[in-house]
């Protein structure tokens, strides 16, 4: 019985279609979905529709909105600040996603390979706790870590005798974006870490044993067995990371406000500034719509890549 359960609990539903259609009225699933979609309709779809509509107007938030067609979008694609913000956010998202995923995987592997259960629990909890700290204060401290004088990085460089490497990390156009990307270093403590760790722990132990018998080295095992096995969770982590990365604006807002010379400007931050500071809501919603399209495209690309070689998923 246990073995059967293991088989049927693979991805995908193996429904006994014949018996089901005899007993279950077809409207039932829709009933289950009504509360969700009612709520989503009112609080997500309608505002989203309103926002997209307003991207075709010159709304300033208070007075009436006049329809202006594609004008906002035309302005947007001629706007050097916006173009720059797109470049920045793509760089930010790609590098950060890679870093977060790789670090999460490394940390998960490190812990997974410990032999003692208590040690595993200990490290797992230790790296999960930082998630409870409000992000605002984390950014404030990181601002101080990167500070020119009295910053931790520069003080550290001076103390190991590399005073010539002292640099205004957040103040220089060359390094500002890099500094923002590295906030949260070593980027271990993340939701992705937990997902990957539990995915690894979810692997059947027989596989490990078989590998061991066959004389597999640990490194080989990681690449040959672990990675393919966690492909699904890995794709999830990547998509969530990309999704969050493309919309990011809080670290830029708190640490650099988009500067210097737009090197850390992000579309999310630009949206925020356009709407709140300048009162250009029409323009801001256009930015938001473009951002949404971008996120959608990235996610679809990843999903396609994921499912192209998928053997373990029945859609």
């Amino acid at each position: 019985m246990a073995a059967d359960t293991v088989q049927t609990s693979a991805r995908g539903v193996r429904a006994s279609r014949q018996s089901r259609s005899q007993l279950v009225p077809t409207y039932v699933p829709y009933l289950f979905l009504i509360p969700a979609f009612a709520l989503l309709f009112v609080f997500r779809y309608i505002p989203a529709g309103s926002a997209i509509y307003h991207s075709f107007t010159d709304w300033d938030g208070t007075s009436a909105a006049n329809f202006v067609g594609l004008q906002q979008y035309q302005l947007l694609f001629k706007d050097q600040v916006f173009i720059r913000s797109l470049q920045n956010i793509v760089i930010y998202t790609v590098i950060r996603t890679v870093l977060v995923t790789v670090m999460a995987f490394i940390a998960a592997e490190l812990i997974y390979n410990l032999r003692s259960m208590t040690a595993r629990s200990f490290w797992r909890i230790l790296f999960t706790l930082p998630l409870v700290i409000p992000t605002t204060i984390v950014f404030l401290v990181w601002k101080q870590i990167f500070a020119g004088r009295a910053g931790l990085v520069n003080e550290f460089l001076k103390s190991i005798g590399m005073a010539s490497a002292v640099h205004p990390w957040l103040g220089s156009p060359d390094t500002a974006l890099g500094a923002v990307i590295l906030v949260g270093f070593p980027l271990v403590s993340s939701f992705g870490f937990l997902v990957l760790l539990s995915a690894l722990q979810n692997m059947p132990s027989e596989v490990n044993d078989a590998a061991l018998i066959d004389g597999c080295t640990r490194l080989r095992r990681i690449f040959a067995i672990d990675l393919p096995a966690v492909r699904g969770p890995l794709a999830l982590v990547v998509i969530l990371s990309i999704n969050a990365g493309l919309q990011e604006f809080a670290p830029m807002l708190i640490m650099t406000n988009g500067g210097p010379v737009n090197t850390t400007q992000s579309p999310g931050l630009y949206l925020y500034q356009s709407a709140i500071t300048y009162g250009k809501f029409g323009y801001a919603t256009a930015i938001g719509t473009v951002l949404m399209m971008l996120t959608l495209t990235f996610s679809i690309v990843i999903l396609r890549a994921r499912y192209r070689r998928a053997h373990d998923v029945a859609i």
């Binding site: 609990s9 989503l40 990181w142 919309q247 709407a275």
Partner: protein, 288 residues
């Protein structure tokens, strides 16, 4: 020869497996290094929470004496008030999110119906909406309904934001449940709803724990929406309450940092008690 030895007793094999890939030491060393670097910001927050402004400005990184324990006393009243407020928003949100995600995730997982993938996709793309984009239209909507400054003006939008991911999580989880349980109950004459809350829900406890904690984290951190929709500052949740000590031009940094430490404690306690459940919820293997 070695093969037959390996075949003797699975338990012995497990222990031997552990021993042959032994030597945790290098791993532990790396983990220690990672942990130290990870915890530097948090150590800094705690260290700074005991300073007055003079100590804070003169020496940011190292602890200073005397320790100003009174910062915590100063920070406590507004923090406590906002924590209470946050619970008023968090509990209904949690209940709603868990129920609705459960219902919908279950429907997506266990039934095949027309438009299933389309609806799922429609729900999934909501995760890709930049939240900041929707704030003003949603605010205008709330005002026109007349719900400004109420509990539901916070709870319902929070729920709406969370259920996309929640549905996804629950669907993944429910897919792992064997159909035999449901078939048997169905043959015994149970209604669909009874199948849901008699069988699926109890089994879903681990996944609910995970979702609940993620939900709590979100409610704890969201600043912008409550700031806009709650007109009375006496109703402000913790995400805004921690900012009580920033002024227009000057800030009391000691109480500010103390406030952040106090704000993290409830989550820490919740995490400590539910860590195992949280991990169990991910045990089904979260994936796409």
């Amino acid at each position: 020869m070695s093969q037959s030895k390996a075949l003797i007793g699975s338990t012995i094999r497990v222990r031997r497996q552990a021993k042959s890939w032994q030597n945790d030491v290098p791993f532990t060393v790396i983990l220690i290094l990672l942990a130290i670097v990870t915890y530097v910001p948090f150590a800094s927050v705690i260290v700074n929470s005991f300073k007055d402004n003079q100590q804070f400005f003169t020496q940011f990184w190292l602890p200073t004496l005397p320790l100003h324990l009174e910062n915590y006393a100063t920070a406590w009243p507004p923090i406590w008030r906002s924590i209470q407020n946050t619970l008023i928003y968090a509990v209904p949100t949690l209940i709603l999110v868990l129920t609705i995600s459960g219902l919908s995730g279950y429907a997506f997982a266990r039934y095949r119906f027309r438009g299933r993938e389309v609806l799922f996709f429609l729900m999934l793309i909501l995760i890709m909406l930049p939240g900041i984009l929707l704030v003003i239209p949603m605010f205008t909507l709330i005002v026109s309904i007349g719900w400004i400054n109420t509990v539901q003006s916070v709870v319902l939008p929070f729920t709406a934001v969370q259920i996309s991911f929640g549905m996804f999580l629950m669907r993944t989880f429910f897919e792992t449940l064997p159909t035999e349980y449901f078939e048997a109950a169905r043959l015994d004459g149970a209604s669909e709803l009874q199948l849901f809350y008699r069988i699926a829900l109890p089994l879903a406890a681990p996944a609910f724990s995970t979702l609940a904690i993620l939900n709590l984290l979100f409610v704890w951190n969201d600043i912008i929406w409550p700031l806009i929709v709650l007109l009375d500052s006496s109703k402000h949740p913790i995400s805004i309450g921690v900012l009580s000590f920033s002024g227009q031009y000057t800030t009391d940094y000691g109480p500010l940092f103390a406030g952040y430490v106090l704000a993290s404690l409830p989550l820490l306690i919740v995490f400590a008690f539910t860590a195992r459940r949280f991990m169990a919820g991910l045990q089904g293997g979260l994936s796409i």
